[in-house]
C-alpha cells in the first residue's frame, strides 16, 4: 500500500463513526462470514452463542475452531457470559475429540494479539488434538528468580484486583443478587455474568459498546476494557449495525486498517 493510499484510507476511517467502523470490520471479517454461512465451513457444533468448525489448515486432524457468533476482535471485548460458554463447550468438544480420534491429549489455546500469534480479526478458541512429539505448541520453561516473581506480583496485583472489582487485598463478601455491572465485589463481577436473568445473548443485537467505552453487559469492567483497547490504538466498537459506505479501494485488507490505528 502506497503512502498516498494509506493516508487516504486513514482519512476515510477517521471520518467514520465507531458504529460504522464496527460494521466495516464485521463486513470484512472472514469468520463473521463463516458464521453467517456466506463462506462454507465444516461445522460440527452450533448454538446461539458460537459455532465450532474444523480448521482447514489444521495443526492436526480434528483441530477445532470455536468462534463466537458476535464479532469480537480481541479477548477483552468478549463478555464474561460468552467467554464462560466458549470454554464449557470447549471442554465438551475436547472430550469428543479424545473419544473419536483416540489421541493422548488436547490443547485449548487462544492467541490474543498479533505477537501472540493471532492471525484472524476475530476471537478464536482452538481445540487441538495432541500426540507426543507432534511439534505443536512447543514451548520451553525457564526458572525465574523469586525477585522477578515478586516484581510481577507487585505490578499485576492492583490492576488485577481492579478488574475483579475488588477494593482491598481480600475478596469482598458482598451480598445479594446484584446485577449491577459496575465495580462491585468479586461476587458481582463473575456471578452477574452467570445470573439466569442476565440478558439472553442475541447475536445481532447483543451488547452495546458506546464510544466512551461504557459496556452494558456481563461483568466486563468498563474503564479497563477501554484503556486496553485505547492503548492498543484500536477503536472501541459498537454492535449497532448501520449502513457502511462502500469503499472504493478494494486493495486494502483489514490488517492495513488495524495497523493504521497503532
Amino acid at each position: 500500500m502506497t503512502d498516498e493510499q494509506r493516508s487516504a484510507m486513514a482519512e476515510k476511517l477517521r471520518s467514520m463513526t465507531p458504529e460504522q467502523l464496527a460494521a466495516l470490520q464485521k463486513e470484512q471479517c472472514i469468520f463473521c462470514k463463516i458464521v453467517s454461512g456466506q463462506i462454507p465451513s465444516k461445522k460440527i457444533y452450533e448454538d446461539q452463542i458460537m459455532i465450532a468448525i474444523l480448521d482447514i489448515n489444521p495443526a492436526a486432524r480434528g483441530h477445532l475452531l470455536l468462534i463466537p457468533k458476535n464479532h469480537y476482535m480481541i479477548m477483552p471485548h468478549v463478555p464474561d457470559g460468552e467467554m464462560a460458554h466458549l470454554f464449557v463447550v470447549a471442554q465438551k468438544l475436547s472430550e469428543c475429540v479424545l473419544r473419536t480420534l483416540k489421541v493422548g491429549g488436547t490443547s485449548l489455546f487462544i492467541a490474543n494479539g498479533q505477537v501472540a500469534g493471532q492471525r484472524a480479526q476475530h476471537v478464536i478458541l482452538h481445540v487441538i488434538p495432541r500426540k507426543e512429539g507432534d511439534k505443536v505448541l512447543e514451548f520451553t520453561d525457564t526458572l525465574i528468580s523469586s525477585e522477578m516473581v515478586s516484581k510481577v506480583e507487585t505490578a499485576v496485583k492492583p490492576t488485577f484486583f481492579k478488574h475483579l472489582g475488588l477494593g482491598g487485598d481480600e475478596p469482598k463478601n458482598d451480598g445479594g443478587n446484584s446485577e449491577e455491572k459496575k465495580d462491585s465485589g468479586s461476587t458481582g463481577v463473575v456471578h452477574a455474568a452467570l445470573e439466569p436473568d442476565a440478558p439472553h445473548p442475541e447475536p445481532s443485537a447483543y451488547k452495546e459498546h458506546s464510544a466512551s467505552g461504557a459496556v452494558r453487559d456481563e461483568g466486563v469492567v468498563k474503564k479497563s476494557a477501554k484503556k486496553v483497547v485505547a492503548s492498543k490504538g484500536i477503536p472501541v466498537v459498537s454492535q449497532d449495525e448501520k449502513v457502511v459506505p462502500k469503499r472504493k479501494d478494494d486493495d486494502v485488507s483489514l490488517d492495513d486498517i488495524a495497523n493504521l490505528f497503532k
Binding site: A59, V89, T106, A111, F139, H191, L194
Partner: protein
C-alpha cells in the same frame, strides 16, 4: 508426594498467590515460558479438563480473561496467550488442571506455534462425520441425564423441606438456547440461611447462559 498446585493452596509452595477463594486460585509461577505467566486453577484437585465441573471452568475462564487484561495494563505486554494443556501428550507438566495466561511481546521466542497441515477431502469428511456423530450422541446422553435428574429432584422436593438449607439441584433443559443442550443445563439454587457460609463467586450462580 503432593501435587504442586495443591501445595500452593496449602501455602507450602513457593508461588505467591494473587487471589484465592473457596473455589479457585490465581498464582504466579516461577517455572514459566515468559516472566509474568499466571496460572488459574481450581482449589480442589482435578487432574484433567474433563473432570472439572462446568461452573468451575466457567469461572476460571472469566478470571483468566481478567488476568489477561491486567497483564496488558500492568506489564505493558503486546499480547497474551491462554493455554490449557490437557493430558501428557499436550505437555501437561502439573497433574492438576489449570489455565495458563502468558504475556507476549515481539520476538520473545516463546514459541507456541504450529505448522498448518494440508489434509485431503476424504480425511476431512471422515473426521467431520465422526465428530458430528459423537457430538450428537453426547447431546442425547446429556438430555437423558437431565430428564432423569429432573424426575428425581421432583420426587425429592416433594418429600423434603427446601427451607432447611438444603441445596436443591433443578436441571432445566428447556433453558437451552437452541435445544441442543450441549453446555451446562444445570440450575443450582442455594437456600439462603444465616448459618450457611456462602463463598464468594458462588452465591446465586444459577445457570450459565
Amino acid at each position: 508426594m503432593k501435587c504442586e498446585y495443591c501445595e500452593i493452596v496449602e501455602r507450602e509452595g513457593k508461588a505467591p498467590i494473587l487471589y484465592i477463594d473457596e473455589e479457585l486460585v490465581v498464582a504466579i509461577k516461577d517455572k514459566v515460558m515468559a516472566p509474568g505467566q499466571i496460572t488459574i486453577f481450581p482449589r480442589k484437585h482435578y487432574t484433567i479438563l474433563e473432570m472439572v465441573p462446568e461452573l468451575l471452568i466457567a469461572k476460571c475462564s472469566v478470571v483468566a480473561n481478567k488476568v489477561s487484561m491486567a497483564l496488558f495494563e500492568s506489564l505493558g505486554c503486546q499480547g497474551t496467550n491462554i493455554l490449557i494443556s490437557n493430558g501428557l501428550a499436550s505437555g501437561q507438566s502439573v497433574p492438576h488442571f489449570g489455565i495458563e495466561v502468558i504475556p507476549r511481546i515481539e520476538e520473545d521466542k516463546v514459541g507456541l506455534t504450529w505448522e498448518g497441515k494440508q489434509l485431503n477431502d476424504d480425511e476431512f469428511e471422515m473426521t467431520m462425520r465422526a465428530l458430528v456423530e459423537d457430538v450428537k450422541k453426547a447431546q442425547a446422553e446429556k438430555a437423558k441425564k437431565v430428564e432423569k435428574e429432573t424426575a428425581a429432584d421432583a420426587a425429592a422436593a416433594n418429600s423434603e423441606s427446601a427451607v432447611l438449607g438444603k441445596d436443591v439441584k433443578v436441571v432445566d433443559d428447556s433453558s437451552r438456547k437452541s435445544g441442543e443442550g450441549k453446555a451446562s443445563g444445570e440450575a443450582v439454587t442455594k437456600a439462603k440461611t444465616k448459618s450457611q457460609a456462602v463463598p464468594p463467586l458462588v452465591r446465586n450462580i444459577r445457570r450459565i447462559p
